[in-house]
């Protein structure tokens, strides 16, 4: 027998469905080994980044300018001995394998290869590479996070409005999105950073602000499209009609009912986009755009290591591998999330 449920109950049921779907998704994800690995990598790197001031073996005030947390004073550094054990293990394995295979350790000019003091060696100015990697993690991750936050802030509302209201607004927003899509992402970023690099904005925070803004502003279009697609499909659902009938304002409907259901594709896309943000930052540094010293990112480390590739290759391998592993992690995480959220949607 068909019973007419009250509107409130129907809305509540929709909410419950969402929560159980969430739990289901989570469980599915945990079963996907790749996703777990990805999550693991991302978490590790994030922890490294946050804990940088505490873990980094060498604190060198001249090379980082932008810090999330205050760095320890000289006395605090003496407490890092135990924490350094982990790094010693990793570092020793590395040097062990290397010595095993090659028979010698690198040592040239100012930059030194591995030794007990510098686990990953030093760069051409004598700075400890391991510390720079750890500090660089902070900035590189920040680039991914902040730029994606900006992209979402722009893209999600635009996509929602576009999908919900339709009509002229929809057309306008989609045309704007087309403009963004008509240009290769990397090239767009290069053009904007190169051209705006010397403005006030371009110089703030050692060039970081510009990188954040440019990557964020360029990245809104895919998110908008995703949100719009979700909105379009959810718009006609029953509980939305119900809420409207109850007199909820459009904004409320969008925010409380529709958006939460759009989250999943956004999260997937964000994870993958963070990976590409880190890669784009590396490419920008390659051309000398992007951040300037003393701010350190993996991309800028890679760029300055380039000319020393023949004389001091360890300078080059460390940030390169750091970037590769981190991006790999984000990619795995994104893929895993996507598979978990809707297994039918395997691309």
């Amino acid at each position: 027998m068909y019973r007419r449920e009250s509107l409130e109950i129907r809305i509540e049921k929709a909410r419950q469905r969402r929560t159980s779907m969430f739990r289901l998704t989570l469980r599915r994800m945990m079963r996907n080994r790749n996703a777990v690995l990805g999550l693991g990598i991302v978490t590790t790197v994030s922890l490294l980044a946050i804990a940088a001031p505490i873990i980094a073996p060498k604190e060198d005030s001249s090379f980082q300018r932008f810090r999330l947390l205050p760095s320890p004073t000289q006395q605090d550094l003496s407490n890092t001995q135990e924490r350094g054990v982990i790094f010693s293990l990793i570092g020793n394995t590395y040097s062990y394998v290397r010595v095993l295979v090659s028979g010698e350790s690198g040592d040239v000019d100012i930059s030194k290869g591995l030794d007990s003091e510098h686990l990953l060696g030093t760069d051409h100015l004598g700075r400890d590479i391991l510390s720079r990697i750890v500090w660089g993690a902070q900035i590189s991750l920040l680039v991914g996070v902040v730029s994606q936050a900006i992209a979402c802030l722009i893209g999600v509302p635009l996509g929602a409005i576009s999908g919900y209201y339709g009509g002229k607004i929809d057309h306008l927003v989609m045309r704007l999105a087309d403009i963004m899509f008509s240009f290769p992402f990397l090239l767009f970023a290069i053009v904007m950073v190169a051209v705006l690099g010397d403005t006030c904005v371009g110089r703030a925070w050692g060039g970081l602000l510009l990188v954040f803004l440019v990557l964020g502003v360029i990245g809104w279009a895919p998110k908008a499209r995703l949100v719009r697609a979700s909105v379009l499909s959810i718009k006609e659902e029953e509980y939305v009609e119900a809420a409207r009938a109850m007199g909820a304002s459009n904004t409320r409907i969008i925010v409380s009912h529709i958006l939460p259901n759009c989250l999943s594709p956004i999260i997937v896309h964000t994870s993958l986009a963070m990976a590409s943000a880190i890669l784009v930052e590396a490419a920008l540094s390659f051309f000398g755009l992007g951040v300037s010293p003393p701010t350190v990112t993996w991309g800028s480390m890679l760029a300055s290591a380039r000319q020393y590739m023949r004389t001091a290759p360890h300078m080059f391998m460390a940030p390169g591998l750091a970037i590769t592993i981190t991006v790999f992690g984000f990619n795995l995480l994104g893929d895993g999330l996507r598979d978990a959220i809707d297994p039918r949607l395997k691309k």
Partner: protein, 322 residues
């Protein structure tokens, strides 16, 4: 269908206009005076003002924009700051090199990735599958110039198999005999591999997962039950269907290629458009050049998207266009 194509073309025009506005505003807003850069240090203000007037940079921005659009429609993109040559000529001179590299990269990546993807799907979880997936993951995760420099180092310098820079003395279409042709192609190998690697990685993974999905489908089971040979099953039935999503991605390769070409051309010293845009942006502030190249790239992307959509419609009869 024709109506659809025309409509897409028309929709592309406001997009291009939008791009032109954006790029024009960017170049106006940018600090740094290209005239000053042209002239070098210690030049007196009169010379500078004189040159500025000659280049038409003393007019107000709106007028400059109109002149720019008006000329662009006539395909006159102005004159390069660097050497006074018409921008369009300079670009046309460079396009062959980039096109040559790009096409080679796409061909190589497709030639390697689709078979590899199929093989990986068919022989899931074997050493072939693991190695190719591993390489694919590196391909999409490692920064382009990290792999580029490693490859350049290993194959170019250490093994000495391939030259590490330049396009060679003679371009392949200028070669007069087989020897020159082969020599010219040697220069192509490393840059094309580097450029195509990320794309190949993506296509391999996509082909593999698409194939995996299709193989599990019912009609494949039916085909097998019917007693068809495995090979027929794979190639006649599974592959064709698996390729549909792959075709879309391949169509989008252009966008990725252009981005990658910029880095690859710089590393391998390849005289193409990617290098030119970097020079124009970073060393010369060659506004006319920057605007022209952005417009041309945007136009090409729009055009290619239309082509891909049409192809897609042709391949998959289920898709309708009103």
């Amino acid at each position: 269908m024709l109506r659809y194509v025309i409509r897409r073309f028309l929709m592309g025009i406001p997009v291009l206009l939008g791009v032109s506005v954006v790029v024009f505003i960017l170049t106006q807003v940018a600090p740094g005076d290209p005239i000053r850069l042209m002239v070098g240090q210690a030049a007196d203000p009169e010379t500078i003002a004189n040159i500025r007037e000659k280049w038409g940079l003393d007019k107000d921005p709106l007028t400059q924009y109109f002149i720019f659009v008006r000329d662009a429609i006539k395909l006159d993109f102005g004159v390069s700051f660097r050497n006074g040559q018409p921008v369009l000529d300079l670009i046309l001179e460079r396009i062959p090199a980039t096109a040559y590299l790009g096409i080679a990269a796409i061909l190589i990546s497709i030639a390697i990735s689709i078979p590899l993807g199929v093989l990986s799907a068919v022989h899931q979880n074997t050493i072939v599958d693991n190695t190719s997936m591993g390489l694919a993951i590196v391909g999409i995760s490692a920064p382009v110039y990290f792999t580029a420099l490693l490859l350049q180092w290993f194959f170019g310098l250490h093994l000495g198999w391939f030259p590490v820079s330049g396009i060679g003395d003679v371009r392949p279409w200028e070669a007069t005999n087989i020897g020159e042709l082969v020599e010219s192609l040697r220069y192509l190998v490393l840059p094309a591999i580097v450029l195509g690697y990320p794309n190949a990685a993506m296509i391999t993974r996509l082909t593999r997962s698409s194939m995996l999905e299709v193989i599990r489908q019912d009609y494949i089971m039916v085909a097998r039950a019917k007693g068809l040979r495995e090979r027929t099953v794979i190639y006649r039935h599974a592959l064709r269907n698996a390729l549909i999503p792959v075709v879309t991605i391949v169509g989008l390769q252009f966008t990725l290629l252009v981005g990658g070409a910029v880095v690859t051309e710089t590393i391998f010293n390849w005289p193409g458009m990617g290098r030119m845009i970097i020079d124009a942006l970073i060393s010369n502030r060659d506004y006319a050049m920057i605007r022209a190249i952005t417009l041309i790239i945007a136009a090409t992307v729009v055009f290619l998207n239309i082509v891909v959509d049409v192809l897609y419609a042709l391949i998959d009869p289920r898709i309708q266009y009103s």
